[in-house]
């Protein structure tokens, strides 16, 4: 499977350097290594979800407890989380660090991913969620640190879109 192990490791290490100790995740192809790394790391609590919106509540609980968390999901999982983001994270000023695999964008071969790719950024903008891209390995550590910093200072959701250029090797 040509999911980049190298990039996944850099992302995972960057999350740990930000003191992220709880990860919620719903498996998807690009996240396979990240989820395995979280599962194997005794310092990280991995919570495998049935649906991504649960992750909003779980991250809120972790925030109340003083534990830094991040959510790993596909952009369709972001779509499935929107009510939780608006009516919990925005309403109650909860910091969320959302790492979203940006499927359905340039280079996508799976037809079923393409509609979600069309609307991901438009929805992030409509929801006034600050977002940036993880597209080059040299920038990953800094971007994750900056996103985490902004989420904590602004007490709101912040998104990083994981791109094909970073996650897929072929």
């Amino acid at each position: 499977m040509p999911v980049s192990l190298t990039s996944s490791k850099v992302i995972f290490d960057a999350l740990k350097q930000c003191d992220v100790r709880l990860l919620s995740a719903l498996p998807e192809t690009w996240l396979v290594h990240l989820i395995r790394m979280a599962d194997e790391d005794p310092e990280v609590i991995l919570i495998r979800l049935a649906k991504e919106e649960e992750g909003v509540g779980i991250s809120a609980g972790a925030h109340f407890a003083g534990v830094k968390s991040a959510m790993l999901m596909q952009n369709h999982g972001f779509l499935a989380s929107i009510n939780g983001i608006v009516s919990f994270a925005h309403l109650y000023k909860i910091p969320l660090l959302m790492l979203i695999s940006y499927r359905g964008s340039f280079g996508e071969r799976d037809p079923w991913q393409t509609q979600g790719g069309n609307v991901t950024e438009a929805l992030l903008r409509a929801m006034a969620i600050p977002y940036s891209f993880l597209d080059r390995i040299e920038n990953v550590e800094r971007r994750i640190r900056q996103a985490q910093t902004l989420a904590e200072s602004s007490l709101q959701p912040v998104a990083l879109l994981l791109t094909r250029d970073l996650m897929w090797e072929e």
Binding site: I47, L49, E53, E54, G57, I58, A62, F64, G66, L91
Partner: protein, 189 residues
């Protein structure tokens, strides 16, 4: 059985717990008994009270967490039962007030009024201890035992579809949230 009587019966036991409630009547009734800074009322985001309790329980293993859920909210996020069962934190007690109704939005009947059995759903999802109670006395005993125990427990409490006259409480959502987090931080000192 009235939800308010159930809450009153365990109110003293909640003093040392972290409490998360759903919106509407449940939040208003608990608040009416006397607000404490260890109570968090999730006034929207239906379905996520149990997820919030799970996040708290897995982050604070030495702290007892109580979630006061409802049939309408839980039916919106049945997958939460399978996620809770997967990690089954022994410090989490999940109470579901089942009034077979979406009371706070006008009293529309939920699927528990037409045969959906939340006890069966929770048990089949893998929650280790699941109990249904129909009297205040049973409610009090069951919830107190679950809080003293060490196993993830879901309590289905069959209650009347009645609630307070209004649902707005004199506590801003954000104030409640900051107060709740500050209370938890104070436990760590």
């Amino acid at each position: 059985m009235l939800r308010l009587d159930c809450l009153r019966a365990v109110y003293s036991k909640l003093e040392n717990c972290l409490v998360v409630t759903i919106m509407g009547a449940t939040a208003a009734e608990l608040h009416s008994l006397g607000h404490r800074s260890n109570f968090f009322y999730l006034q929207h985001a239906m379905g996520l009270a149990s997820s919030t309790g799970l996040g708290l329980a897995l982050s604070l293993r030495d702290q007892k967490i109580v979630v006061f859920d409802g049939d309408g909210s839980l039916l919106m996020n049945l997958g939460s039962l399978s996620t809770m069962a997967r990690y089954r934190p022994g410090n989490l007690v999940h109470v579901v007030f089942d009034n077979e109704s979406l009371l706070s939005v006008g009293g529309f009947p939920t699927a528990t009024s037409t045969g959906t059995d939340l006890e069966g759903v929770a048990r089949a999802a893998g929650i280790p201890t699941v109990l249904t109670v129909r009297t205040v006395e049973d409610f009090s005993t069951t919830v107190r035992d679950a809080l003293d125990g060490t196993q993830l427990t879901t309590v289905i409490a069959k209650v009347e579809p009645t609630g307070p006259a209004g649902y707005v409480i004199d506590l801003s959502l954000v104030e409640n949230r900051f107060q709740f987090r500050r209370y938890i931080q104070s436990l760590k000192r």
